[in-house]
């Protein structure tokens, strides 16, 4: 026993400093070999910023004002040129257009090369919809979860328009549904060639095919939700 302690003592005295240096060096190397990717979301309506106080005119000539625009970006994965896939754990983000702090976030990625790809999903996938209560952005208390039927609401767009013959002239789109044939999840795969990624949302495109006097409430999964999920997806462009 005493011998062992002597050994430890010896070890501490003579080998400690080089070991410490190499450990520190190792950490530095690890931190250098990972990179940060900044994601910036820019919401626009007819090339103007979207404000709660402003009115906008849709391509189908409805005047509208927004009260809520929220959506999920989730399940980020780095796909290397050689086909290797690295899943970024817990990469779920709830974007709220009226909360500027949610329009920008950074992802810690393992080192990546030009032509590596970033995969992510618009909405919440089947696995997260069927494995109970989650935390953080996916906490059901965020108001993006249905209660009478299990499932996340992938995106919400709400506002008012004089075209809507509804209570308080409201329009409401709560789009979700994770089961086939009306799975409303959509995904992006993007080439990574710089340190940030700009995701532009041109929200006027969401109203290209919708006349608000006819269609102003979609609140359940189904074929309408499925179509609107595609329309919303197409309103994004990535740079």
């Amino acid at each position: 026993m005493a011998y062992l302690f002597k050994k430890v003592n010896y070890f501490m005295k003579y080998n400690f400093i080089p070991i410490l240096i190499s450990v520190l060096l190792g950490f530095t190397l690890i931190s250098f070999s990972s990179s940060t990717l900044e994601i910036i979301i820019t919401p626009r309506f007819n090339n103007k910023s979207i404000l709660e106080t402003d009115w906008y005119v849709t391509p189908t000539k409805d005047s509208i004002q927004f009260t809520k625009i929220k959506f999920y970006l989730t399940n980020f994965k780095l796909i290397s040129n050689n086909g290797e896939i690295k899943v970024l754990e817990n990469s779920s983000y709830l974007i709220d257009i009226f909360k500027p702090e949610t329009l920008k976030f950074s992802l810690k990625l393992p080192h990546f090369n030009n032509n590596d790809k970033l995969y992510f999903e618009l909405g919440v996938n089947n696995r997260m919809n069927t494995t109970g209560a989650h935390s953080g952005a996916l906490d059901p208390s965020n108001g993006m979860y249905w209660s009478w039927q299990s499932g996340y609401i992938n995106f919400k767009i709400e506002g008012v328009s004089p075209s809507c013959m509804t209570r308080k002239n409201k329009f409401q789109f709560h789009i979700g549904g994770y089961q086939n044939p009306h799975n409303t999840l959509r995904n992006f795969t993007i080439n990574l060639n710089k340190q940030n990624l700009e995701l532009n949302l041109n929200l006027e495109k969401f109203f290209e095919f919708t006349k608000l006097s006819n269609e102003n409430q979609v609140l359940i999964p189904g074929s309408n939700a499925d179509q609107l999920a595609t329309v919303f997806y197409n309103a994004f462009s990535v740079f």
Partner: protein, 341 residues
């Protein structure tokens, strides 16, 4: 130097040992009979600790979950009735609003593949969201509940005990409720004792006859040992024109699911009247006479019900006597599940 190291090691050893003792005291054991299938629920997010169980128990019995502090889970799920609402065909919520359905009994939830009469909820951890958010029940939202819990000194302490963090979140609130409700297991009925005894003398001849009649006529849907096959069936009830409840179809939007409802467990059936999704039958005699004479034939009717249940008066009595052997008094009167305040 040597002495210091020895003291250091000693300290580490004591810490490790004492933490083991603490962990051992806190761990709940999830028990069930050997002849039961494995539970479907994975338990991966639960701490299985006594503290989380007690937090869930407090939440279950606390009207803080409802908008106006009047309705708790226990308002419609009373332990003495195997956690359902007796004497109410349809359950009522805040402001005396009458709901659309008869509350289901709560037990053996870890074996359920879906929840609610229409199976709309796909996971036990999310079940509580439905009554919390329904305007006919608690009329609140998880968000509102979490805010109330975070301004309560009592819950700050209970959350801290459970999660080493006094901040309540939606996930933790739901997990605590799960930790309580998943432990509400009923497996100590006379039937269970008879099965464990491998068909000994625990059953009277009449109860044995009843079991045989049950196995011949009822068990294809009310499958032993949980007395449900977890599926949805149209059992030939007429549509109530005031409720217009098409059951499973409202979730799946498929016409083949029209008028289908979850096959409920029959455990503790003696204490869970009224029966059916809309509570239309007041007693088990009425239920049996429905299967004998009342079946409405339609496209989606369960194929097992194409021909009427054919029982003599004596057989009917034997069946009713057997159904009473599914009562589990240890469950109905277990202090650990009762009002905690």
């Amino acid at each position: 130097m040597n002495k210091n190291i020895i003291y250091g090691l000693y300290f580490v050893l004591v810490t490790i040992c004492s933490s083991f003792i603490v962990i051992k005291n806190k761990t709940l054991i999830f028990n069930y009979p050997k002849y039961w299938p494995k539970p479907l629920y994975q338990f991966s997010k639960l701490s299985m600790s006594e503290n989380e169980f007690q937090l869930g128990r407090h939440l279950f019995y606390d009207p803080i979950l409802s908008k106006d502090q009047t309705i708790s889970c226990a308002s419609c799920h009373l332990q003495a009735n195997s956690f359902t609402h007796t004497d109410h065909e349809l359950s009522h919520g805040i402001g005396g609003i009458i709901g659309k359905r008869n509350s289901l009994a709560i037990m053996n939830l870890a074996w359920n593949s879906s929840f609610m009469w229409d199976g709309g909820v796909n996971h036990i951890e999310l079940q509580a969201l439905a009554p919390i958010s329904s305007k006919n029940e608690m009329g609140s939202s998880l968000n509102e509940v979490v805010a109330k819990l975070n301004s309560s000194e009592k819950y700050k302490a209970l959350f801290f005990n459970s999660y080493k963090d006094s901040l309540a979140t939606g996930q933790k609130t739901l997990l605590a409720l799960t930790q309580f409700t998943v432990m509400l297991n009923s497996y100590n009925s006379k039937y269970d004792k008879y099965i464990i005894d491998k068909g000994g003398d625990l059953f009277t001849q009449q109860e044995k006859n009843g079991l045989n009649i049950f196995r011949k006529n009822c068990a294809s849907c009310h499958t032993e040992p949980l007395f449900t096959n977890n599926e949805f069936r149209n059992n030939g009830l007429t549509l109530d024109p005031f409720l217009n409840d098409y059951g499973r179809m409202q979730i799946t939007n498929k016409s083949e699911d029209s008028l289908k409802f979850k096959v409920p467990t029959l455990r503790n059936i003696q204490f869970t009247p009224p029966y059916m999704h809309d509570g239309r039958f007041q007693n088990l005699k009425e239920v049996i006479s429905h299967y004998k004479l009342g079946i409405v034939h339609s496209k989606t009717l369960a194929k097992e019900l194409n021909s009427n249940l054919n029982l003599s008066h004596k057989e009917e009595v034997d069946l009713l006597v057997f159904l009473r052997t599914l009562t589990d008094y240890e469950f109905l009167f277990n202090d650990r599940f009762s009002y905690p305040f």
